[in-house]
Structures are given as C-alpha cells and as structure tokens.
C-alpha cells in the first residue's frame, strides 16, 4: 500500500481554542462529527492517505490544542511541516482577530518559508455569523494564504480544504521533494563512508 504513495506530508492544524480544529480533522479522517468533542490535550495525531491529481499522498496531520495551557507545546510541531491549516470560527470575531498572533507564531517557529498556509473559516452552518466571507478572503490574500469556508458539522468544504492544500504543496517545487532528495543524499553519504574506509585501508598499505 505504501509503495504507490508519492510522499508523506506533515500538516499542522492551528487556531484558537474551540474553533473546531479537531472536528475538521475528525470529519476529514473518520467522516464523523461530535458536537461535544472534548478539548484536545497537547496534540492529536491522525494519518490519512488521499489521492490528488492521481498522486497518492500520505498525510500525517498534527492537530494542536488551542488552549492556552498547551500553547508552550505548539512550537514543537511546526518543524518539518509542509502545510499549515489556520482555523477560525466565523461566529466568533475574537478568533479571527487573533489570527495575527498565530501568523506571528508561524513565522517564528517554522523552519522553512515556502510552507503552504491555508485559512479555514469554520462553522458556516451556524446562523450568528460575525465574520464575513470577504473579510476572511481579504485576510488570506494579504498573507498569501489559501482560503476556504467550511463546516465540520455539515461536511461543507472539509474535503476540499485538505485536497486543495495538498495539491498546492505538491505543486510547490522543493517543498516535498526535498524530503526524498535528502534521503537520497543520506544514502549516498553512507556509501561514501564505506568507500572511505576501503580507501583508508589502501593508504596504510602504501
């Protein structure tokens, strides 16, 4: 099964507490929805293989805890991530306002700058909307992010969000290939090491 997988991508989901990060993930991986989902502790981890444009990609998705007390842990997941999903709640303006903080954190802890970001406005099924779609779109454009509005409850846009993100990552040269290229280099390094050893033997004979 693993053989036809093109690559493994590390995706990170961040955002304020209670915006529905875990629900989005649960909808995407298990296609379920639990309105009473408990707060994530530390980080949650799920794996899913999806097929985009005929390419199979294995997604290792790290769903971080939004709660303040787990904030210290978040920096440890940024490293090596190829895609970040930044989630806000369209019915809570404060979660939208705080996006800037998250972007700051992203900038501080991300090891690469070509990482693909996606902004997701969640809970569009609710009626008491506080953040307009255009506002979200504007914010996303300003920070050159992908944008989609979604609802984990009604399954609206969830699949699409992940697929689009993966597509963009695969289209970005050097973002995911570098991983495999690195491995290649490592291997040849090892072989070089062997060669070196043999050479050492030679030298002492001479």
């Amino acid at each position: 099964m693993d053989e036809d997988v093109l690559t493994t991508l590390k995706i990170l989901i961040i955002g304020e507490s209670g915006v529905g990060k875990s629900s989005l993930l649960l909808r995407f991986t298990d296609d379920t929805f639990d309105p009473e989902l408990a707060a994530t502790i530390g980080v949650d981890f799920k794996v899913k293989t999806i097929s985009v444009d005929g390419n199979k990609a294995k997604l290792a998705i790290w769903d971080t805890a939004g709660q303040e007390r787990f904030r210290t842990l978040t920096p440890s997941y940024y490293r090596g991530a190829q895609g970040v999903i930044l989630v806000y709640d369209v019915t809570r303006r404060d979660t939208f306002v705080k996006l800037d903080n998250w972007l700051n954190e992203l900038e501080t802890y991300c090891t690469r700058n070509d990482i693909v970001n996606m902004l997701v406005g969640n809970k569009i099924d609710k009626e008491n909307r506080e953040v307009d779609r255009n506002e979200g779109l504007k914010f996303a454009r300003k920070h050159s992010m992908l944008f989609i509005e979604a609802s984990a409850k009604t399954c609206d846009g969830v699949q699409c969000a992940f697929e689009e993100l993966v597509e963009k990552i695969i289209q970005t040269p050097g973002l995911w290939e570098s991983e495999t290229q690195n491995k290649g280099v490592k291997l040849s390094h090892r072989e070089e090491g062997h060669g070196g050893g043999a050479c050492g033997g030679y030298c002492s004979v001479l």
């Binding site: 408990a38 949650d44 981890f45 709660q67 007390r69 842990l73 440890s76 090892r190």
Partner: protein, 682 residues
C-alpha cells in the same frame, strides 16, 4: 469519552492533581484494604509473567497511599507536573523510545511502555494515539522543544530529579527492571541534563530503603540530621511509589528468606494494609522477582552436571553490594603472578555496585596464558615485537611475513588457543541460557570481557538472539580484543538482544591476535583487530591501538581501557591501582578473606565502592589505613611507593565530599553519615 471529565478538571486548575489527592485521602480504610487485596491477587499472576500491562490497575494507586505518610508534604512526582508538561514528558519519552528502539520487533514493547506511561502520568487516554505516533518515530523533530519546556518547569527547576525518580518507579512498577527501560531512563537523563550518577544514586537509595526498613522505627526515634532526613524522604517516596503499586513490588534485597522482615519494616511506613500484602506469599514471590531465585542469584548458581564440554563455570562476586543492575566481567586468560585469578584484571571496574566475574575453564585459560607468555619471552627482543606490531598495523598480514622465530613456537600457542576458542563458545552458550532463565533476577545485565572473554560474550549474544524472549535482559556489552568474526552481518542479530551499547574495543596492532588467526585472517575480519561496520546507534568502535600495544595488555591496562571506552572506574584507582592490586598485599589477605570467604581479592574493591554500611566503612578504613601504613613504612613495591602521597589526600577528600561514602580519615562530618545500620547482611 468518560475520561474527558478528568482532562477538563485538570484544565481549569493546574494544581488539580493535589485536590484529587486530598479527596482520595479521605477514602475509607476498608476501601483501600480491599484494593490492595485485589492487587495482591494480580501480583500472583504477575509473577508468572501473565499480567504485563499492570499499569492499568496500578496507575492510581500511589495517590491513595500518600496520606499514609503523615506530616510530610508529598514529594513532587511526575504526576504533579502541569498537564502540558506531563504531555511533553510523555512525548519526550515516546520520542526517545522510537529513537532507541526503532526495530520492528521492539514495536510492541514501545507501544506497551508508552501506554503504561500515559496511565502512570494520569494523562487522558485521548492522547494515546499521539503518543503511539511519537513512539513510532513520528514527530521526533520537536524533541528539543519538549526538553526546553520541561527544563523550564518550576517543579523540575527546583528538583531536576523528579522525572528520573518518576521514571525509575515507573520502570520498576511491575517488579521487573527491563534493560530497555534502564537505557531509556539514561537517555531521558541525558536529554534533561541530569548526570547519570543521580540515577545510580536513586537506585541505591531505593535498595537502601529496603535494607533499612527493619531498623526504621529506632531510626525515626533518633533525631537525625537534616540531610539524612531528606534522603529518607526520597526513600520513602520510592518505597511508597513502588510498594503500594502492588503492596508487593518491594524487593527482597536479602533474598526470599528475609522478605517477611522487609514487609514488617515496610508496614511502619505504608500502613498495615500494604504490609499484609507484602507478607503474603505472593508478595514474597514478587520480591524475589528482581533479584533472582531465593536471593542467591548468580553466586548461588551451580552447574549441576557437566554441560557439554564445560568443566568449570561459576560466578565470583567482585563486589559485595546489591544494585538494580549488574555487571558480569569475563576474563580472557589467566597468567602466573598477578593475573592468576579471574578477578584480577577487573580490580578497577566500577560499573555497578553489584559485579561478578565468571570463572570458567581455569585450567585451559592458565595454559593459554602460559603459552602467551612463552611466546612473548621467545620474542624477548622488544625491537622484534615493535616491528611485528607495525607489520600488523600496515595491514600486510600474510603467513609469509611472520618471523621464523615466532613460527617456531607456534605450536605452543596453537593448541591451547584452539581448545580455548572451542570452550569459550560453549561457555558463552551456557551463559546465555543462564541469563535467559533469569538466574540474575529481572534486572539488566551488562557484560564485559577481553580476549576470549569477549568471545564468550559473542557466543552468549549469538545464542540469546535465537531465543524469543531475549529482549530487555542485556544492557551494555563491551568486547575488548575479541577473537571473533567482525563482519557486520554476524553482529546484526545482537541489536535485538542488546538494549544499550555494543562496544567493540579493538587494536590494529595486536600482532598476537593476527598471529593466531594467521591462517585465516586474510579473508576473516577479526573484531579485535578492526571496527565492526554495523550501522546502528548501539555499536561503538573504540580504537585502543594507542593504549594496547599487544594482546596481553588487555588485562594489564584494563583500568585505562575502561576509561577509554567510557566505563566508570573506581575513583583514585589509577594512582593506587598498582599499590592495592590483589596479591600485592599478601599480609592483608587473611583479614579480607574473613569478610568474604569466596574471594579475598574482591573484598578490596568492594570496600572501596560500597555504600555506607558499617562493615564496608570499617573495611575501607582498614584497607586505606593499612596501605598508607605500608607506604610510609617503605613498601618494597616501587610502583606503589611512587605515588602514595599524591593519591591518598585526593581520595579521602573525594570520599568526604560525597558525604555518603565511607570515612577513612575520620572526618567528623562524614562520620555521622556512615552509621546507618545494615540489617539482614549478617
């Protein structure tokens, strides 16, 4: 989703574990009694090795037991950390697991341990998938962030040992000490910048607490000094953390026979409910689990009948102490004079407080040693030896290049060498089965050997690798100048057996080893002559060429070699080693022999590293004093007389600064520390 409640409670108040504890303290006594009784039944099963995932039943127990310690604030444990930090702690543990044991055959162990720790730390079960991901090698990039988080924790800042002791109690919670668990604790220690000595100290403390339980009452009556008081708290913590976990995990240091005494002592600490469990048959059974059958352990092992071609096979104690991990040293050959005993080369070895050396086939090893010496004396010309060394170094090892003078005496060595090669393989296989049957108890073993002793280890590992339950027994192995195959593919299976390090100490200029392999060494890679090219984190090749100039040096330079490969040696040994070397002080032997009838030499070293037992203290005082007296009287050994003045003060100051070692010079500060009673040893 029943666990959510727990998680939420923790979220609102970071200190909530404490509140919970108070609640559980008000549990009725009967309830507690009942739970311990239930637990005792579990321990019966445990002894059979049926219940391994005991964590499930035990993880909430220490909390209940805490109220039993009256008037003392509970010591911080891993559970008291904030939830985020407990998460980081568990995650770091998972990452370490995946880094140390990435092999597929270890994955069940990793998952099991990870699940155990999550429960132990009272983390919500919802984190389990994530932790399993960490344990399977995902998310390892964040390790340093977790370390940073933990190092910033206020509890850990105050006392960096919290995690070490928490992990130690976690590792021991079901009455067995897996070698992998110890390697993990060491890894976590190094990640969290806790010196390894602290782990040794904690292990010691735990054992001492058991030794002292008998005298606990009278001791509490004394007004002890504050430092001692602190140490007792540690012990109590450990005792409580472990004993209550089953009411039975307390180990009989003194063996099965003394176990009821241990139970009686423990009763004063953990209350009658726990003691009932301790005194029960099941409790005693588990007590013997860690230390081997009936407490006799390895020394009690007698080869019942001749096994295969082996004529001699016994374990001699090198030290008198007891430790949660042991080291077995294996000598490669015996010679006349100083190195006529098996224990002689290991005088400086101080890897653990409980060390043994394997006595095997003395007759043949003596023959071999004599042959080796004959060869050397045959080549009395040092120039010839040096020339040989460089010939070997240059790599031109063909039968034709050997000097005629050496070939003339070849028959002297070839026969005993051949016999010993064969015997060492047999002995190694036998040793493997002893270790597999856990004669040493459920605790990690490290093996160290030189020359044919290393070959014994090689075959021991090879034999163990063929068995199913070979994992988690061996911690480290150190092979020095091993006359064995050095091909990576032969060492590959050892990864499964060895949890810690595989050290191959080799010497490129070992002409003797090249010589005995002269017919085959062209196509054969000998491990004692070159590095083993196995890509694994365990394998460490140490080039000893600058330390060892010939095969015979492995015994003579052992203390330097041990330092070179990073094995702890006895403090001050390098200066006084020759002075105090066994056999060099014959007039002292009778007294030492009285203390340890089995081996006169060993008591020397025992005394020098032992903990604060009065016997040890007096012994050290005796041995140090007597050696000093001899020095001042003008010892006839020139090598000993050359260094004594410099050595003695250094050593004594070292002992006093530790505050826990014996007190040879009568320093009043330390004198108070060494009066701890040591029941059960007489």
């Amino acid at each position: 989703m029943s666990v959510e409640g727990l998680a939420w409670v923790g979220s609102e108040f970071p200190g909530s574990p404490k509140t919970q504890k108070l609640d559980s303290g008000s549990l009725s006594e009967t309830l507690r009694r009942k739970s311990v009784a239930v637990y005792t039944n579990k321990m019966c099963l445990l002894k059979e090795g049926v219940v391994r995932g005991l964590g499930m039943a035990t993880w909430d127990r220490p909390r209940e037991a805490k109220p039993a310690v009256e008037g003392e604030p509970p010591l911080p444990t891993g559970r008291e950390l904030a939830e985020a930090n407990r998460f980081a702690y568990a995650a770091l543990y998972g990452i370490s697991l995946s880094q140390l044991f990435p092999e597929p055959e270890q994955s069940s162990f990793c998952t099991e341990f990870m699940a155990g720790l999550v429960k132990w730390l009272e983390l919500s079960e919802t984190v389990l998938p994530t932790m399993t991901a960490f344990a399977n090698g995902l998310g390892g990039e964040g390790a340093d962030v977790f370390v940073e988080i933990l190092l910033k924790d206020p509890i850990l800042k105050k006392d960096p040992l919290v995690i070490t002791q928490d992990l130690l109690s976690f590792s021991l919670k079901d009455g067995r000490y897996d070698a992998r668990a110890r390697v993990l604790v060491c890894r976590m220690n190094s990640l969290l910048q806790v010196p390894l000595e602290e782990l040794d100290f904690l292990e010691e403390t735990f054992l001492e607490s058991l030794k002292e339980t008998k005298e606990e009452e009278s001791e509490t009556a004394e007004a002890s000094r504050k430092k001692k008081e602190n140490r007792r708290k540690w012990k109590r913590y450990l005792l409580i953390g472990l004993a209550t976990v089953g009411g039975g995990t307390v180990i009989g240091v003194t063996g099965g026979l003394a176990a009821p005494l241990v139970a009686a002592g423990a009763a004063t600490i953990i209350g009658s409910a726990g003691a009932a469990a301790l005194g029960s048959v099941a409790g005693i059974a588990v007590m013997t689990s860690l230390f081997g059958a009936a407490g006799a352990g390895l020394t009690g092992y007698k080869m019942k009948k001749r096994v295969g071609a082996i004529e001699e096979f016994t374990f001699l104690p090198l030290t008198e102490g007891r430790q949660l991990h042991i080291t077995i040293a294996i000598t490669g050959w015996l010679a006349s004079g100083k190195y006529r005993t098996f224990s002689a080369p290991w005088a400086a070895l101080a890897r653990s407080r409980e060390q043994y050396c394997l006595a095997w086939e003395a007759k043949y090893l003596m023959e071999l040693g004599n042959a080796l010496e004959t060869i050397l004396s045959g080549l009395a010309n040092m120039v010839a030896q040096e020339a040989l060394k460089y010939t070997v170094l240059s790599g031109i090892v063909a039968a034709l290049t050997w000097p005629a003078s050496l070939l003339a005496v070849a028959n002297v060595i070839d026969n005993p060498w051949g016999v010993c090669l064969h015997r060492s393989a047999e002995v190694g296989k036998h040793l493997a089965h002893i270790l597999l049957s856990r004669q040493q108890g459920q605790r990690p073993v490290s093996l160290i050997g030189f020359s044919l002793g290393a070959r014994v280890i090689y075959f021991c590992l090879q034999e163990m690798a063929q068995e199913k339950d070979c994992q988690g027994i061996i911690e480290d192995v150190i092979l020095l100048g091993a006359p064995v195959e050095g091909d990576a593919k032969h060492w590959e299976p050892f990864r499964k057996v060895v949890s810690g390090r595989i050290i191959n100490g080799y010497c490129r200029g070992d002409w003797l080893l090249s010589f005995v392999y002269r017919t085959s060494s062209v196509q054969l890679r000998v491990a004692g002559l070159q590095p083993v090219q196995l890509q694994d984190r365990r394998v460490e090749n140490v080039d000893l060429s600058s330390v060892v100039s010939g095969h015979l040096d492995y015994a003579k330079q052992m203390d330097i070699i041990l330092k070179a490969v990073g094995i702890r040696t006895k403090p001050g040994w390098d200066e006084k080693g020759l002075l105090l070397a066994p056999g060099s002080l014959p007039q002292e032997e009778p007294r030492q022999a009285a203390a340890t009838p089995s081996s006169a030499e060993t008591s020397h070293q025992a005394g020098r590293t032992q903990g604060p037992t009065p016997e040890d203290a007096s012994k050290v005082a005796m041995s140090v004093n007597s050696s000093q007296a001899q020095v001042s009287a003008g010892l006839d050994r020139p090598e000993g007389a050359s260094l004594p003045e410099a050595a003695s003060p250094a050593e004594s100051s070292h002992i006093c600064s530790h505050g826990m070692d014996p007190n040879p010079l009568g320093c009043p500060d330390c004198a108070n520390n060494i009066q701890e009673p040591c029941p059960g040893l007489d």
